[in-house]
């Protein structure tokens, strides 16, 4: 039962109010909800970026809500991948350097076969020496996906990964995420408010006002929209 509060006394906001949820390994799950529903806070807590006021978070047997900064850093480096909405890449590094950055931080090197496979799958082979500002938005997000996948993390978190993309580029990135979940067994948890994006997931968790308010298996854009509509009513 996770709880997270912001502010004090009168102005207190309950971003998470007794949320209890499990995410299965190897599946692509989307967290949905209107603005202020607590979906981003939930993801931050799950990823160890934020600490809940009450409750536990367990990732594959490790209780991450009990880890200190050093352990959290190692956890993020080795077991978690991130794809953000914007500003995913270090602007001064080339695409290849960005992709291998987590490994470089850990002091290890990439498995060349795995690197080639991911880069090939994401269609980035001829873009590796480019700097982020020389890449399109979709290409930048694919570089971020490649980086997230390269370390074979336990889970990849996506925070509105297609929020800044047009629908075609966004569709490509989402397809890539779904493929990595289905073909590679990669666990993915994505926060979005776009029903179309959510329809790429295996499962959708719906949130409102800090509560878990429902979920959908094998969603479509329409079914998500319908579920959201019910929330609003």
């Amino acid at each position: 039962m996770l709880s997270k509060h912001y502010g004090k006394a009168d102005a207190q906001v309950k971003a998470l109010d007794g949320v209890s949820v499990a995410f299965e390994a190897g599946r692509f799950t989307a967290i949905m909800g209107p603005s202020g529903s607590g979906k981003s806070t939930l993801m931050h807590c799950l990823a160890g970026l934020d600490t809940p006021d009450a409750g536990r978070i367990v990732l594959g047997g490790t209780e991450i809500s009990a880890l200190n900064d050093r352990q959290l850093t190692a956890l993020r480096r080795e077991r978690i991948g991130f794809v953000f909405q914007a500003f995913n890449l270090v602007p001064t590094l080339s695409a290849e350097q960005n992709i291998t950055l987590p490994l470089a931080l850990a002091g290890s090197t990439a498995d060349p076969a795995w690197f080639d496979y991911i880069v090939g799958t994401l269609g980035l082979k001829d873009r590796l020496t480019h700097r982020p500002h020389e890449l399109s938005g979709g290409q930048q997000q694919r570089v971020a996906v490649a980086r997230a996948l390269l370390t074979r993390p336990d889970v990849v978190f996506g925070d509105e990964p297609t929020g800044n993309l047009d629908s075609k580029a966004g569709g490509e990135v989402l397809a890539m995420l779904r493929r990595s979940s289905q073909e590679l067994g990669q666990t993915i948890i994505m926060v979005t408010h776009d029903p179309v994006a959510a329809s790429y997931a295996d499962r959708v968790v719906l949130m409102s006002d800090g509560h878990l308010v429902g979920e959908l298996e094998n969603p479509t854009a329409d079914s998500v929209l319908a579920a959201l509509g019910k929330l609003g009513a």
């Binding site: 850093t73 993020r76 500003f87 001064t92 931080l105």
Partner: protein, 855 residues
């Protein structure tokens, strides 16, 4: 992580230019300072070494003494010695365009040992032959075959005339740069001639009479002889010959020792310069720290992203420090190169003048190592706090706009407490150091208190800016917005203002310090040298007034007065006994005496510092009277009293004073000495002063050595002050440039950071002109407040610093150079404006939509 740092440096290097430039300037300053010291030593060595270039060993008599013939023979006849040259000198006078000048005659060495270079003609052989240096020859119009008559200086006169000797010139020599020889005309003559000249001249310090006193012995050893063994062996032989206290050195050691002896003052200059270089380094450190903070703040999101991707705090910290180290090292290398280039240019320039042709560039390893170390350490130390701030970036900041540091967070409070502690410790120690003239205490205490001021900047700068902001409200909406904006983010305002505060404080400190020091130096000079020139007049006094008129008309003479001795001091057994006391009227005193505090009062005799008497008994023509004695803090004045007080002494019938035995026997009985005192214009050259000395002597018909005075000393002192001020000005320039770099950088980055909010204002209807005006007003507010605060701090620091440094030697009265301060204020405001104009234009050109999309 290193890769991230390196990519930062290579792709964003424009952001680092400001830091690099600040470091470069400080390092160039430091290493060229160290090169000044080493180059001076090398230059001195090169010039001193000229005299010993043919010798392997040098025997030097104990200070001031001479070597006897026996000692010279004992050393020269040693089996290991191949050749020897026993040096001796005689001083003669030559007639140099109407005035007597001292020339130095050296005895000719054996051909193999002669250090001079013959330009034309041949070396002298006969007793009446001499060679002369080409400079003197040119001045006196001498050439080979012409004759030169010299007077034997200091020798007793024969039948009222000085003994003279006429040389036939056989050759011209290349002028020596040896600092012992270079100031004089250099003559070279046969040994016997020099010996007879030297024996006639008293006061040369030569021990044996009859020309046996040698000032030194140069030796060449036979091939294959061990120098160290020879030194020991020669020492033994000299001891046996009764010259055991003579020093045997290799020529290298001799040169080193001579240079060390001569360059004592040079070391002090190096220390002073190093202190200034230290200040430049402190300023650079503050500017670099400030700029790095802004750079780190700008990279918050990037650092947070790295943290999300698994970078540990230590990695973040070390990446910032690594950046600093690389940047510091590169800038230091460039700084050392710049310093060496500057020195090489200066030396090359110096070599173009003949007197400095021996100038030698020396780049000691210490200058390189110290420069590299100081520059790199400076940058890394400056990056420590920003690096710590970088580690405090939470990974979540990659996803959220970050909150700026404010007074309310922990770091802000720690900083504040540290600042208050530094102030509490620094200020009392600084005041203490200034009151008790302890520069070594005042300097670090001053630096500590200033660090305290900077740490506490967020405490007083925002309220000050807010108060000043009220002045901007007549400018309408942009003015009101600017006033509010300027203090909306106290941390940013404080950082921006602090960079400027550093510069302005330092500049003001230097200006106030320089003005105060100059004032103190002038007061000290006036006290030490109250009279510019004094002519001692003897003989009949009929033509005195005419002579005085003639002197007054000379170009460069401001005032001339004639003084008469009222009597002589009677104080048996003391140095004062027999000294004449001159009477001076208050009007004359005001006209010629430099020290405004020295205005003779009634019933008091003023004495030079070598004479200490509580009560002075003066005997004059009118009788013997007693007066109170007051000893002045100057050696260069005659005993002095007010003319009204002196009247009774002069009043009586003419007669010989009772102390005739010890009185001035040179002057005719009954005629007490008279003197003419001159006050000269400021800023005369040494040559002009010497000309005035000659003309004044001629006017009264007395020898030139009757004219004494501090005018030449004053010129020398003033030129020293001018050199020091030049150094201060140079430092000032460097510090200003460093500070301005910091200002421009902080302001432009600060404007850049606010692209979004400025675009919002534009979207809400602010015109481009209003936006530009708003940013300009904001910049002027911050810059103006920093300039005013900095000026106030600088005046305080400058005065306290001058007091600490000069307190022991002079009275320090604070002098505030208002006009210069106004200039500083204008420069600071204009710098602030300029720094904001370019980014403001960029902000104004950006469409609101574009600007709002920027994250």
């Amino acid at each position: 992580m290193l890769r991230v740092s390196l990519s930062q440096l290579s792709t964003q290097f424009r952001r680092f230019i400001a830091i690099g430039l600040a470091v470069l300037l400080a390092v160039a300053f430091l290493s060229s300072t160290l090169m000044v010291g080493a180059s001076t030593q090398a230059s001195l060595g090169a010039s001193v070494g000229e005299a010993y270039r043919k010798a392997q060993l040098v025997v030097t008599p104990k200070d001031g003494g001479g070597l006897s013939q026996a000692a010279v023979d004992a050393a020269a006849s040693a089996p290991a010695v191949a050749g020897s040259y026993a040096e001796r000198y005689a001083a003669v006078t030559i007639d140099d365009g109407g005035s007597e000048q001292i020339a130095r005659v050296r005895n000719l060495a054996p051909a193999a040992m002669e250090p001079s270079v013959l330009l034309s003609g041949r070396y002298p052989a006969a007793a009446d032959e001499a060679a002369v240096d080409s400079t003197t020859a040119g001045r006196l119009g001498l050439s080979t075959g012409s004759e030169l008559t010299v007077g034997t200086a200091g020798a007793p006169t024969v039948a009222g005339k000085p003994r003279t000797l006429t040389f036939r010139i056989t050759g011209l020599l290349q002028p020596s740069n040896d600092p012992f020889a270079a100031p004089f005309p250099q003559l070279l003559a046969a040994d016997g001639t020099v010996a007879s000249l030297a024996s006639g001249s008293a006061g040369q310090g030569s021990e044996g009479h009859g020309g046996t006193g040698f000032t030194g012995l140069q030796l060449q050893l036979k091939d294959g002889q061990d120098q160290a063994a020879a030194v020991g062996y020669l020492g033994q032989r000299l001891k046996a010959a009764g010259a055991g206290d003579a020093l045997v050195q290799t020529s290298g050691e001799k040169v080193t020792a001579a240079v060390a002896q001569m360059s004592g003052g040079q070391d002090q200059l190096t220390i002073i310069l190093l202190a200034f270089a230290g200040v430049a380094i402190v300023v650079s450190t503050l500017v670099v720290a400030n700029t790095f903070s802004v750079l780190v703040a700008q990279r918050t999101r990037e650092l947070a992203l790295l943290r999300c991707l698994g970078a540990g705090k230590a990695q973040i910290r070390s990446s910032v420090l690594f950046e600093a180290a690389v940047l510091g090292l590169v800038s230091s290398v460039l700084g050392v190169l710049a310093g060496a280039g500057l020195m090489a240019a200066l030396i090359a320039w110096a070599r173009t003048t003949p007197e400095q042709s021996f100038a030698t560039l020396a780049v000691p390893p210490s200058a390189i190592i110290a420069g590299l170390l100081a520059g790199t350490l400076l940058t890394v130390v400056a990056a420590l706090l920003p690096a710590k701030a970088a580690t405090a970036v939470a990974p979540l900041a990659a996803l959220r706009p970050s909150d700026d540091a404010s007074l309310r967070n922990k770091r802000g409070r720690v900083r504040l407490w540290l600042g208050l502690a530094a102030l509490a410790a620094g200020v009392p120690l600084l005041v203490l150091g200034a009151m008790f003239n302890m520069l070594l205490l005042a300097m670090p205490a001053g630096a500590l208190s200033f660090v305290g001021v900077l740490l506490c900047a967020s405490l007083f700068i925002p309220p000050a800016v807010a108060a000043a902001g009220k002045l901007a409200s007549p400018a309408g909406v942009p003015g009101r917005l600017a006033a509010v904006n300027a203090v909306r983010n106290p941390a940013r305002t404080s950082a921006t203002a602090a960079a400027l505060l550093i510069g302005v404080t330092l500049v003001t400190l230097m200006m106030t310090g320089a003005a105060t020091s100059r004032q103190a130096f002038n007061a000290m000079l006036a006290e030490n040298y109250p009279v510019d020139l004094a002519v001692r007049v003897d003989g009949a006094d009929g033509a005195d007034t005419a002579a005085l008129r003639k002197i007054e008309a000379l170009d460069g003479v401001q005032a001339a007065v004639l003084l008469k001795a009222a009597g002589t001091i009677t104080a048996p057994g003391t140095a004062a006994d027999g000294s004449p006391v001159f009477a001076i009227s208050p009007g004359d005193a005001a006209a010629v005496l430099r020290d405004p505090a020295l205005r003779p009062q009634a019933d008091t005799v003023y004495l030079p510092e070598r004479l200490v008497l509580g009560k002075v008994t003066v005997t004059g023509a009118g009788g013997t009277h007693s007066f109170a004695g007051r000893t002045l803090r100057t050696g260069s004045i005659e005993p002095l009293m007010d003319s009204t007080t002196a009247a009774p002494l002069l009043g009586g019938p003419a007669g010989t004073p009772g102390t005739a035995g010890s009185a001035q026997s040179a002057s005719p009985a009954g005629a007490l000495p008279r003197a003419a005192w001159l006050k000269l214009d400021d800023g005369l050259s040494a040559e002009r002063i010497q000309a005035i000395q000659r003309e004044a002597a001629a006017a009264f018909g007395v020898p030139v050595h009757n004219v004494s005075g501090a005018a030449v000393e004053r010129v020398v002192f003033n030129s020293i002050i001018d050199v020091l001020l030049l150094v201060v000005t140079a430092l000032l320039g460097i510090a200003v440039v460093i500070a301005l770099i910091g200002v421009a950088n902080t302001l432009s980055l600060s404007v850049l950071e606010r692209t979004r909010e400025n675009s919002l204002l534009r979207a809400l209807g602010l015109t481009r002109g209003q936006l530009r005006g708003m940013l300009a007003i904001e910049a002027v507010l911050v810059a103006g407040v920093a300039a005013v605060l900095g000026s106030a701090l600088g005046i305080a620091y400058g005065w306290l610093g001058a007091k600490a440094a000069l307190g022991p030697v002079a009275d320090v009265v604070p002098v505030v150079p208002w006009l210069q301060l106004l200039g500083v204020f204008a420069v600071a405001v204009v710098a602030g404006l300029l720094a904001s104009v370019v980014p403001a234009r960029r902000a104004a050109r950006l469409s609101p939509v574009q600007g709002l999309a920027t994250t």
